[in-house]
Amino acid sequence: MPAQNKDGRTYTVGRLTREIKSLLEERYPFLWITGEVSNFVTPASGHSYFSLKDTNAVISCVMFKNQKRRLQFRPENGMKITGMARISLYEPRGSYQLIFEHMEPAGAGSLQQAFDALKKKLADLGWFDPAHKKTLPFLPGKVSVITSGTGAAVRDIIHVATRRFPGCRLEIVPVKVQGETAEAQIEAAIRLVNRMKTSDVIILARGGGSIEDLWAFNTETVACAIYESEIPVITGVGHEIDFTIADFVADLRAPTPSAAAEMVLPDQQALAQQVNRLNLALNTAMEKRIRLLKDRLSELGGRLKSPARVVDDFRFRIEDAENRLHAAMDRKVSRDRERLFWLRRTLENSLPISRIREKAKQVTDLKGAIDMAMTRYTDTGAARLRELSARLDTLNPAAILDRGYSITRELGNGRVVTDADTVSTDDRVEIILAKGRLVTRVESPE
């Protein structure tokens, strides 16, 4: 039965080796490993080759010249080290090895051990607790920079600080950052700044270096000064991967000095913009408010109608009422007057003078009637009298006188003398003739 994998292919050595290499290198790009150095050799190339072993296994290692430069100790056979490495497979030999980037001695007595011990101690003391961390001022009035008076760190800080906040007040407190006096100088500087009390923040900075170079920053003295500083401390020590005790105790750790400056100082321009923006917003809000109120007020003012229209309406109503009142009164008076005139006319016509005159005519007619009747009476009487008188006239006894007879009457008693004896001489008698009469005296009766 042929030795084949499942796709039926048979590996070549090179291919298998290549696949194993890529598997290993992908699986372990970096790793921390600890072990004992053995077979340490450094050929002319300057690279060092050695084995790392423990009780169970052994593994080939290499550290190239470049990485070796940064080592702060000299590895020797039998030395226990801890280091960071990546795994690599060398195809021509089919062997794998660790390529160390960094290594340091492992075990008691070493710097690392001292570091770890101090770190543990301070951590146990609670110095790293976030509770102890002071907040950095948003905008420090004055920044004290404790660092070397020369070198890149102070330059970077000044550069970044003046870029970010041109008006910043920087105080450089130059110290030695490595060497024997560094520890004391740094501590003194921190305490001095605290005593001056003029700064709002302290930047404790140093450029990168070996663990030995950074030693001062890993001392308890410095840590204590930082811990006891009333002014917030920000550290910017070494490069990004370097952690020192100072970093842990500090209120804030920046990976680099530049970064520390950047973190301490805000961007002045951005801040000014922010303030101006807020100021604008404030003004806008206020203006908007006033405009709104003005609009509302003018709207209300517009709606606040003067009651003049109401007054006019009322005036019309009153005038109408007044006119109607006058009209009604006039109508009433003139109607009453008309009625009165009509009644007076009717009254006057009911007793006309013509009626009186009619009555008068009736009366005068009646008077005429009685006048006529009266006249008739008198006329009738007169007529009858006239007739009787005429008839009497014809019977007048004197009529015989016309034929020559006469009548003698005694004068005085008028007795007709028919017997001469009845008269005596000298008696006066009258003799009635046909025409006239004679009064005579009797001469003698015969």
Binding site: L385, L388, R391, L392, P397, V416
Partner: protein, 78 residues
């Protein structure tokens, strides 16, 4: 006859005229009758005169002034 009236006088006058016309009277009687008749006539005439005067006077006073035109109202005064 209590009182002599126009009518009674006139009636007497008539009687006288009738008697005289009968012709049975003596002259003396006749003269007497005639004289009476004349007297009655006069009496009657007097009454008539007085009556007329009274009437005139009455119709005058009835209007308060001579009212000649009373019965001629249709005649305008001009």
């Amino acid at each position: 006859m209590a009182k002599k009236t126009f009518e009674s006088a006139l009636a007497q006058l008539e009687d006288i005229v009738r008697e005289m016309e009968s012709g049975e009277l003596t002259l003396e009687q006749a003269v007497k009758k005639y004289e009476t008749g004349i007297a009655q006539t006069k009496f009657c005439l007097d009454i008539l005169d007085k009556t007329e005067k009274k009437i005139t006077q009455l119709s005058r006073t009835s209007t308060g002034e001579p009212k000649e035109t009373l019965f001629e109202a249709e005649t305008p005064p001009e």
